[in-house]
Symmetry: C2
Subunit: 344 residues, 2 copies
């Protein structure tokens, strides 16, 4: 069993040994707001003026589609708790095809990581990456590629909730869930309602908007998931002095390998859930992540790679923040951040 | 001057005379979450399987576009204040081409109506209507009409910020703002970043999702803006026992005129801002609203129509909740709700 061979470090098992607080600390939000950051103006010309009746029975309005459009901005919502214990704000960056909703209420109605970290006294910024949710998306004249929509069964098979390809059925009774899964499968059908159409051509503007966010609100800690693996590491490479710690939750992408030395001053934590080995894609994704971590270490940096099962936390899907034991995973992150001196 | 002839009622001027509180009551949120409500599953068949690399350098995934899609659901975020003074929750429904961001921080960084009503002890549900923001949008195989995007100058000219058609310029110094406008024009460029692509074919599913929301969280008070004029009145007509009051803020659409008797037990307030008469479209829109109010009254119902200038509140654009005097308008709504016995 060398499954976790390069991942288990001294102290990692101890992280999980910190018990979850017996009683949840109170939620007390005393400041809240939102803004859009980043983006650019894109010009459209040569189109005919249209007359549009926006509301049935309403008064037609002329719409001249020529002009400048606000595109590639990013929506960010922030919350400030009464008792501030995080030394810097904590930023939550979601994965592909999703939005900041990822960190809100779980599909089965429990509080998500947004509330969890607010209860521990972190000021939290929760964003919708460029193109998704409240960030809006650009006209086809600006983004010519079509958006990708995925059917409701796709995340079930791809996110290690079901037993891979073919495991999803429209009939809930026939879905082949991974034995021991902590995903709240009885509420699975609520999850795909959070899906956001996506593009595969918007990584650069997404990174630019995240850099603009970091310039605006950091120094900070960034917790990022899946597709945001590349965003978290690349943005930290662009603004290493602004990022005090990186928490990569099942990252599916990584930073620039030629610039790993820039990351050596930023302590990083990489977390992987369960069922990796039996999946068709995740062994490769995890191997790429561990290889990136090793490059950072070779450059003199510090990365802790935690395979949750090895730390005694079992059954996690790719959507760890929605799993029944999401609080245990959050506590592991919290304990790690405390040990890095980022919480008081 | 019969400009406000049918709109000024005894008591209306008195509403504005209630002074805004000298000091803002504290913001203290002790509960917060989100969910998606309503929607349906739509099936797509006969499409080829595609292989997509979602993340550069990542591991390709097979995406079978055939299957069922979650469409036409609605995203709702809720907040519960410590001291609950609203007798029922207050629902905020935004206008066309926008999202719940409408009620959050204003373009110039002040607190929006969401925080304003939370500070007065209302539990608030702020939603993104079907197709917009965190509600997602359906694949072209399901919604065949193209989305409508508008350039950044469109709301400037259409929402009574500038002096109508041709008043917008990409050069801020050359924009012709309505004299006396309360819109924070120096921050105008932040506003179009909130725009959401829209369809003109989704009114029925939007109403269905709002009805599902009302079934889930009401009895309640609904504050609705612009395009949501039709949604507010039609949903109240569908669920009259669940709606204790309606606040129509510059409604651009209305309910079913054949069913106004259903609304007679629901006290309603209609609010219009400034510069209506000099606009090319708003005199008609307002006239339609007043005519709908008169139908409700003729059926025995109660509707107060307030033209803000007649109530001493001047300079309001269509985006009243973003104007510099947005607190005065909110206070007028609050005072009206208090008089209806809905706040304690």
């Amino acid at each position: 069993m060398n499954r976790f061979y390069c991942a288990v470090f001294a102290g990692v098992l101890a992280l999980a040994a910190v018990p979850a607080m017996a009683e949840e600390p109170p939620l007390e939000i005393v400041g809240m707001g939102s803004f859009h950051v980043g983006g650019r103006l894109a010009e459209i010309t040569g189109q005919p003026v249209r007359e549009i009746t926006f509301t049935p029975g309403g008064t037609p309005a002329k719409v001249d589609p020529n002009g400048r459009y606000a595109v590639e901005q990013m929506y960010v919502q922030w919350f400030r708790p009464r008792a501030q214990r995080g030394r810097v704000p904590l930023l939550l960056w979601h994965g592909g095809g999703l939005s900041g909703v990822t960190y809100e209420t779980t599909p089965d109605g429990r509080e998500g990581w947004l509330n969890w970290f607010l209860r521990r006294g972190w000021t939290v910024y929760n964003s919708d990456a460029v193109e998704r949710g409240r960030s809006g998306w650009a006209p086809p004249e600006v983004w010519s590629a079509p958006a990708i929509h995925v059917p409701i069964g796709n995340p079930f098979e791809r996110f290690r909730i079901g037993q891979g390809e073919g495991s999803y059925s429209d009939d809930p009774a026939k879905r082949r869930v991974l034995p021991g899964s902590q995903f709240p499968v009885e509420a699975y059908d609520q999850f795909p309602r959070q899906l956001s159409p996506r593009w595969t051509t918007t990584d650069e503007p997404t990174i630019a908007a995240y850099v603009a966010l970091v310039d605006k609100v950091c120094p900070c800690v960034i917790v990022f998931h899946s597709q945001a693996g590349q965003f978290g590491f690349k943005v930290a490479q662009a603004r290493p002095d602004k990022v005090l710690a990186l928490v990569a939750v099942e990252p599916a992408g990584f930073g620039d390998p030629a610039k790993v030395d820039v990351l050596k001053s930023i302590p990083s934590l990489m977390i992987y859930g369960d069922f990796i080995e039996q999946d068709s894609r995740w062994p490769t994704i995890r191997r790429n992540g561990v290889a990136f971590a090793e490059r950072i270490r070779a450059a003199g940096g510090s990365v802790d790679v935690v395979d949750l099962p090895a730390a005694g936390i079992r059954g996690n899907s790719h959507m760890l923040m929605m799993d029944r034991n999401s609080g245990d995973v959050a506590q592991l992150i919290q304990t790690w951040l405390q040990r890095k001196g980022l919480w008081q």
